[in-house]
Amino acid sequence: MEVPVLKQGPFLIATVQAALTDEDLVHLRRAMVERVVIARSLGVIIDVTAMDIMDSFASRTLREVAQMIRLRGAETVIVGIQPEVAFAMVQLGITLEGVVTALDLEEGLNYLQEKFSSSA
């Protein structure tokens, strides 16, 4: 299941539609890191609302995406982590340290817009 990536102004939005296999995650990572420079994006939002499980591989991959995208000159926000998922994650000790998180897509966009309107 491939993850569609949409361009919205200066931002890229990747919306996860269903549970992802490890392969899908690797694919998503490569696609995002490539496209962020091609699209000259300032920020990337990954919407994981539809993910009802976040295992250690998924969270590590998301963290790597965030770090790689920072190296490519843009900011990443993970949005839409479900309360139950968040609870399960912290119990497993997965905290997505160093990654910006927001409640939902709207919040994530607000965050990026504020950030880039103040620095612009």
Binding site: I81, A86, V90, T95, A102
Partner: protein, 304 residues
């Protein structure tokens, strides 16, 4: 040879059964005699018992008349249990008695005490009656003691069970008085925690808070733990987990009201609270939250 041994064993078994049967028969007869004696002296023994209860300063929460009324009921149940050998009625009575007296602050030792007193009073009366015939007394006591002990046991266990039931009920009630998640401003929630945090409650708290964050679209949460008396490593870790889970939902958490004792404990046991945003009191926490959200609160006079 083997056959002989087998036969011998079988004979032994048969013999023992016979002896047991005979002694059971004897016990029943003795118990009947005992019960008749206890019925005859009901008034006197009951009074003696009630007197000794008062003397021993048991059941101080109850008036003399009440003690006497309960003593009468217990006495009759006691004799009946001795007579019939069934304990269901006594058990039911012990339970309803416990239900009545527990709210009045009657303690376990008092209940056990009165039942043991009754046992002693009755045993004394048996001594007095059979003092001339020592072998008979011995056999009567053989019949009386196991039954009496079992009765004492039944009543005590019934009381303790009832008490435990009450405690369980209260625990549930406390749990249901769960902590509210309150919105004080748009996108600002407060979570005042009062009382003891156990793992179950911590879990419930976190779930409630996360749900609250989503429904209220909160950006900042102030967790006030002024009302938490003590904190150990487990509880502190729960708190850290709550903070981290909230962050995953995009909310910043401010913890307020850590008492000096809790601060000392946390430093001593070396819990890493570096990730936690802490402010001295609830007021300071709310002020900081307002700053984070871009609110500025000014007195009406100063604004104009």
């Amino acid at each position: 040879m083997a056959k002989d041994v087998e036969r011998l064993e079988r004979r032994t078994v048969w013999h023992e059964t016979l002896v047991q049967g005979a002694s059971l028969e004897g016990t029943a007869v003795l118990l009947r005699e005992l019960v008749a004696h206890l019925r005859q002296n009901r008034t006197q023994l009951r009074e003696e018992w009630a007197r000794r209860i008062t003397e021993a300063k048991l059941l101080t929460a109850m008036s003399k008349d009440e003690i006497f009324a309960e003593a009468t009921a217990v006495y009759d149940q006691y004799v009946e249990a001795l007579e019939t050998g069934t304990f269901e009625a006594l058990q039911a009575y012990a339970r309803s008695l416990s239900e009545r007296i527990i709210p009045r602050g009657v303690e376990t030792h008092e209940v056990v005490g009165i039942v043991l007193l009754l046992r002693d009073v009755l045993a004394r009366s048996l001594f007095a009656k059979y003092q001339a015939d020592f072998t008979k007394l011995d056999r009567i006591l053989d019949a009386y003691e196991p039954a009496a002990n079992r009765i004492a046991n039944t009543v005590a266990v019934g009381f303790v069970q009832e008490r435990e039931r009450v405690i369980r009920q209260q625990q549930e009630a406390i749990r249901e008085l769960s902590t509210p998640v309150l919105q004080v401003r748009e996108r600002l929630l407060i979570l005042p925690i009062i009382g003891v945090i156990d793992p179950q409650r911590a879990r419930q708290l976190t779930e409630q808070l996360l749900r609250g964050i989503r429904t209220n679209r909160a950006k900042v949460v102030v967790i006030d733990i002024t009302g938490v008396a003590a904190m150990d490593a487990t509880v502190a870790n729960h708190l850290v987990q709550t903070v981290e889970a909230s962050r995953l939902l995009g909310a910043t958490v401010i913890v307020t009201g850590l008492s000096p004792e809790i601060a000392q404990t946390l430093v001593t046991i070396g819990v890493d609270l570096g990730k936690m945003n802490t402010v001295g009191d609830l007021q300071g926490g709310i002020e900081q939250a307002e700053r984070l959200l871009g609110y500025k609160v000014v007195p009406i006079g100063a604004a104009s």
